[in-house]
């Protein structure tokens, strides 16, 4: 429709819309940077907790009395599992908090009535989650490596980061699906997001090979992006493998499906929330 009110509406060209959306995306990332800066001590405490938690898992390899070379390999496998658990946890937490945090702060109505598109808003949260998650995962990884004294002479860190970045597309897609939960259920939605994260890692072989799982879980593992991220990262850190197409293509396929599905699920959830008056601050 052309401007019915004369000069009150501006002509929004496609170029202008793209520019505005990119600024909106930048705004989401920028806001999260502000919040990280303001909650820096809390972030440091959480980082220490994650390092301690990962150590409790990696130390298991020390207690089972195996030869040093085998122990080093097991420690590395457990470490990769622990780091990916932490990385995935951050992505799910940040994307899920798209709604939960804004509801808690009371800004949800202002954000959802702003003219930025929902995909840009959610992708902005995802982009920040990946950047923040990668930095944090690297810190946890190297802190544990130094503390335990793991030897990683062949590790291909570049390929490992690249694979995690590719896997992140799928993780963000799944995160978008869980982000809708606090929108539909303000009281229990965030916790249900953690359930989704746990279930995904259980079937993906987070601390064990997928082959030890019951058959039906192995089938589910095939559609979990974490399966390929864990498998690929272990090969890259232990044996210096590059980006294996066998890990990359399933991640790209899952990503190609999970992002549109995630956006659609969120759209349906937002509509439900608008219909039932749930798009408002808590308290």
């Amino acid at each position: 429709m052309t401007s019915a009110a004369g000069d009150v509406t501006q002509a929004f060209t496609r170029r202008r819309i793209v520019r505005d959306e990119l600024i909106g995306l930048f705004g989401v990332v920028e806001r999260n940077l502000y919040l990280t800066k303001r909650y820096l001590l809390w972030d440091l405490a959480f980082l220490l907790w994650t390092v301690a938690n990962t150590l409790t898992i990696v130390f298991i390899a020390r207690g089972i009395g195996i030869a040093p070379a085998a122990r080093n390999e097991l420690e590395t496998k457990l470490l990769v599992g622990g780091v990916i658990w932490a990385f995935l946890g951050i992505i799910f937490e940040i994307v899920t908090e798209t709604v939960a945090w804004e509801r808690w702060e009371g800004t949800i109505e202002y954000t959802f009535m702003a003219p930025v598109s929902r995909p840009v808003h959610l992708i902005g949260m995802g982009v920040y989650a990946v950047i923040y998650g990668l930095v944090r995962a690297a810190l946890v990884f190297f802190a544990v490596v130094v503390f335990i004294g793991i030897h990683l002479p062949h590790a291909n860190y570049g390929a490992a980061i690249a694979l995690l970045a590719i896997a992140s597309i799928s993780f963000i897609g799944v995160g978008m699906m869980t982000a809708v939960l606090p929108l539909v259920s303000p009281e229990k939605g965030t916790q249900l997001g953690f359930v989704a994260q746990g279930l995904m890692l259980v079937v993906s072989g987070v601390y064990y090979p997928v082959t030890v799982l019951p058959d039906w879980m192995q089938w589910v593992a095939k559609i979990s992006p974490a399966t390929y991220a864990l498998r690929g990262n272990r090969e890259q850190i232990l044996n210096g493998a590059g980006l294996a197409w066998a890990d990359v293509w399933p991640l790209l396929v899952i990503g190609a499906f999970s992002i549109p599905i995630g956006l659609s699920v969120f759209k349906v959830g937002e509509r439900y929330a608008k219909k039932h008056g749930k798009l408002k601050r808590s308290g």
Partner: protein, 270 residues
């Protein structure tokens, strides 16, 4: 052809709440509400808590979907052309609603980005707009949690104006403020009216505020719009001297009357 700034026709909103395992209790927050606002006009909607004022504001802000009727902002359908409407509208509500750990400047930057304002633009505009609402420049980078309610509400006004809305929705903007802050906010609303091409919908339960700021005053009671006309016409119609008396004449209750259980439920729903 001139288009009304706001055109609301037979607007309905019903909320339901689970009552037991199988039953849902329904309450009409808005019941076939119709009115129009012309460009540049300031309309005040009066009503008790739970009367449907906030529901009306949230519908016009595209935060709710209606169960019936239609609403248009400058000719654009609020429910079908929501993104266009969002560019034209902004609001100030009773709660200032900010990221409490972030500063006033950071909160305003965040809000401005969603309206396509880049860092260069906000770097110039934010100090200017904060100065206009009387916010002390030396407190611009302080966390919102360290600011008084009055200060926070000034930042909320700045946030709304930063995006140059042609329709400004004010949902009890002075409720809970001390007399001085209230006065300052009201003065600023007057200034917006005089200097800007903004249409203002002011929802309030402060009758004096409505009378002083608005061209026309409406009364929303239990989801129904009982009247919407200039104060003088309201007083003449009900043959009374004050808006409080007009409320009594129109509803059979005083503004401070105790609420029934039904009213309280409506307040929770709305």
């Amino acid at each position: 052809m001139s288009v009304s700034a706001v055109e609301v026709r037979d607007l309905e909103k019903v909320f339901s709440r689970r009552k037991g395992l199988w039953h849902r209790r329904k309450r009409a927050a808005l019941n076939k509400v119709s009115f129009t606002m012309e460009r540049g006009e300031c309309v005040a909607i009066l009503g008790q808590n739970g009367s449907g004022k906030s529901t009306l504001v949230r519908l016009l802000s595209t935060l709710l979907l209606a169960d019936g009727g239609e609403a248009r902002v400058f000719g654009y359908d609020v429910f079908k052309e929501a993104r266009t409407v969002r560019r034209l509208v902004n609001r100030v509500s009773v709660e200032a609603s900010f990221f409490k750990k972030m500063s006033a400047a950071e909160n305003l930057s965040y809000a401005a980005r969603f309206y396509g304002m880049g860092p260069r633009e906000t770097h110039q505009k934010i100090p200017r707009i904060l100065e206009r609402v009387g916010f002390p420049p030396n407190r611009r980078n302080e966390s919102m949690e360290n600011l008084s309610r009055g200060m926070q509400q000034k930042v909320a006004l700045a946030r709304a104006l930063l995006t140059s809305p042609v329709l400004l929705l004010l949902d009890e903007p002075t409720t809970g403020l001390d007399p001085r802050s209230k006065q300052e906010v009201q003065t600023f609303i007057r200034e917006i009216r005089e200097r800007h091409d903004s249409t203002i919908l002011l929802c309030t339960h402060d009758m004096k505020e409505a009378e002083e700021l608005a061209d026309r005053v409406g009364l929303l009671d239990r989801g129904e719009l009982l009247f919407l006309e200039p104060v003088a016409d309201v007083l003449e119609r009900y043959e009374v001297d004050t808006l409080e008396e007009a409320f009594f004449a129109a509803t059979g209750r005083t503004f401070e009357d105790e609420k029934t259980e039904d009213d309280e439920e409506r307040e929770v729903f709305a």
